[in-house]
């Protein structure tokens, strides 16, 4: 019984992590750049949901979700314009530092605006729980899983079944060739950042109800996205989702049996062990290195 309960919690957490990791991989594939601000974008999405709830009292999360995602998409475009596009032809370390700088601004901006205390956003469809086969399932957990699944499916459909998705993939594979074929590469990159930030915003809203959001949550989240992507194979979209589910399951089980601190420490140590043994990730590298 407890195991089933833990599974539901783990899948819900993993679904939210998967959104974080997906946004990270989308930008990674499109630009070859690691977006260190991804965790802070999730945090920003959480606080945006909290702030919007102040303007629209009693609005459930599913009403706020499209608003948060739209605003975060704009923020994503701003990030690409200030922190990626001016540095695209320089060594990759420049983008690492510029996105770290964006993270610093977001994190401390949130501290100044909202204070350092944890905040919670509204649940998607109100609180409460229902019972299936004697199992107490929080409505929020099911709603989080459904929403994340919907967003992941939408993202998959966009990339595989639309002209825009083909252009985005072409840009990711070979920007030079894509440009030669008449694809507006710069807009595609900005759009990818917008998508990545929108997914981060959604994850922020979903996570901040059960787990709260603090301004300093970003570095923990980017590490988890990074671990998920490393486990799932650098650059692989399905791998990112699987990796996110795995680390969430690990976290939920170890937190339950030992403590949250032990879970986090074990996760990082496991990562170091993976890197020591298989630097290319557990399932190999999906994207070729662009150094």
């Amino acid at each position: 019984m407890i195991l089933a309960q833990l599974m539901v919690n783990g899948i819900a957490l993993g679904a939210a992590y998967a959104l974080v990791a997906l946004g990270f991989v989308l930008v990674l594939n499109a630009t070859g750049a690691v977006n260190f601000a991804q965790g802070d974008l999730v945090m920003a999405g959480g606080f945006l949901a909290v702030a919007l709830a102040g303007f629209i009292p009693d609005a459930p999360g599913f009403v706020l979700l499209p608003l948060v995602m739209a605003l975060m998409a704009l923020l994503g475009i701003a990030v690409s314009a200030t922190a990626y596009l001016p540095l695209r032809n320089r060594p990759p370390v420049g983008v690492f530092i510029s996105t770290i700088a964006v993270g610093i601004i977001l994190q401390n901006g949130a501290t100044v605006l909202f204070g350092p205390e944890p905040k919670a956003a509204a649940p998607l469809f109100g609180g409460g729980a229902f019972t299936i086969a004697g199992l107490q399932v929080p409505t929020q957990s099911i709603a989080v899983i459904a929403t994340a699944a919907l967003l992941i499916a939408g993202q998959y459909w966009l990339f595989t079944h639309t002209q825009l998705g083909r252009r985005l993939r072409a840009t990711a594979q070979d920007p030079g060739m894509a440009r030669a074929c008449g694809i507006p590469v710069t807009s595609m990159i900005a759009l990818t950042f917008a998508l990545g930030a929108a997914l981060a915003g959604a994850a922020g809203l979903l996570l901040s109800n059960q787990f709260f959001v603090t301004p300093s949550a970003g570095s923990g989240l980017i590490l988890k996205a990074y671990i998920a992507v490393t486990i799932g194979g650098w650059g692989s979209l399905p791998g990112a989702v699987i990796g996110a589910l795995l680390i969430a399951a690990f976290e939920v089980v170890v937190s339950y049996t030992l403590s949250y601190t032990a879970a986090t420490a074990a996760l990082y140590l496991a990562l170091l062990a993976i890197l020591a043994v298989r630097p290319q990730g557990l399932f190999g590298e999906a994207s070729r290195r662009r150094a």
Binding site: A83, Q107, S216, G220, I222, L272, L275, P279
Partner: protein, 577 residues
Amino acid sequence: MPEALTRGLNPLLILAALALAAYALFGAGPYGLRVLTVAGVYAIAVIGYQAIFGQAGALSLAQGTFFGIGAYVTGILGSTSGFGFAVTFPLSILAPTLLALLIAVPVLRLESHYFALATLGIGQVVLLAAVEWQSLTGGANGIAGVPGIDLFGWRVGRGLPLALFVWTLVALGALLAWLLGHGRRGAAFPIMRETPVAARTLGIDIDRLRLEAFAVSAAYGGAAGALTAHTQRVVSPEVLEFPVMVTILTVAVIGGQGRIAGAVVGAVLLIHLPEWFRGLENGYLILYGAALLATIVAAPWGIVGSLERLRARLIPERPPAAPAASAPPARPTSKPSLPASSAPVLYVDGFGKRFGGVQAVSDVSLRLDRGRILGVIGPNGSGKTTLINLITGLEKADAGKLYVSDADITGEPPHRRALAGIARSFQTAALPSDSTVLEAVTAARIAIDSDIATARSHAMHFIVQAGIADLVHTRCGALPPGPRRAVELARALARQPLAMLLDEPAAGLTEDEQASLARRLRAAADDGIAIMIVEHNMPFLLPLADRILCLDEGRAIAEGTPGSIRRDPAVIAAYLG
């Protein structure tokens, strides 16, 4: 005078240093002195950080962690054991250095982004440990009652004495960093930072350089942490949190990456910044973030780099005189008693390599002989470049053996193979764009010559020989394709190799340049070098080569003289036809 030293000695910087000293001695109140002391502490942390981040070019996010560990060691020992500074300070340096050496094994060979995130992860583990291990660290409350600095009975008082003590350590640390980072090691850093793959094939052991730089950064981080514990008199988990790392990174970038003076200037400026913008309270980190972003986008060379550029524009500096060329002593060829033709210089026995499902190279054997040129041809994707990568060790062969002068070097890493006598060029010339031609060719000598001046003068010999002496102070990034090739060839020849492997050396050259390249290669062969040339340009290759090896889909399909290869039906079907 060594340029690394003069580069930091800008008249403006000297004036600023004097003004700062006058302020400390006569103008600053107790609070001002305290801020100056903190700036000195950060200067030490960043001088160390410049080694791994600025010079080795690896974005470590563990410097704040090393700083925090140094602080905790001093805090724990100082408050409980009663040991003085003479014991706690060295231990505070030792502990993070040992940690750096320990974690270096899994993380140092990782690529840039993996390295950055792995070091961030290590920081999180240490922070968790500091909060949870309450019996040792005092948990979230930390450790109070850390004593001041007590050195063999001499107590360093608060205020001016402490500020002077810290800044004396800054000066010593800067001097030591300069001693460590100039000369041959200093010449290796730009090559290893910008073109790490090429650096390995020049005989530079970049893994070891990175390890040393990481250990040095940890030692400085620990020293700074110890001083912060003595300054604050308390140690709490704050010293391990991300804002410390943010400050260190921001100071390094804004001051000027890789520059010792940049660390000091950046620290003084950024530690004072929050004092000048008091209204911001804790929002000063937003300012750091914005300044970091603006700097990395608009002026990635930082303040000290900007001053250098400004000076270069105001007082156009004549380039330093090129060192006098001196011919290096001839490389002792192994086993000179043997007749030149009997043993191959380099022998590949059955190399094989798979990438995923593709057999890139399959059972290829070849020999390179003294004074002979082997041409390697084949369609795109037939495994030619992979073959060079396998011989130079950049890729690991799944099967086969490699011998140089009869010695089996199959298991050796790239830099050892280079030292065994293998040199190479790259398909797209891999020159560090910010280095001058002289610096780029000198890099080929630093693993051979005993000091940098000799390396430079030997490099000059090969530059003159290549006929590019007028380009000696040109930045490699500004070179047109022809001269780029010439520089790369000069760099390969400067290694005085036994065997030289060239990847499409004639690509993009004019006919005149091709003719001159062919003459130089023939002359190099006549000097006794065994040469292998991968090339698509048959009018260039066929008259030049003594023998030709043709690859197709990773297999050797024909080998023979250029004349026989031209008539070989398999070669015509696969490639020439």
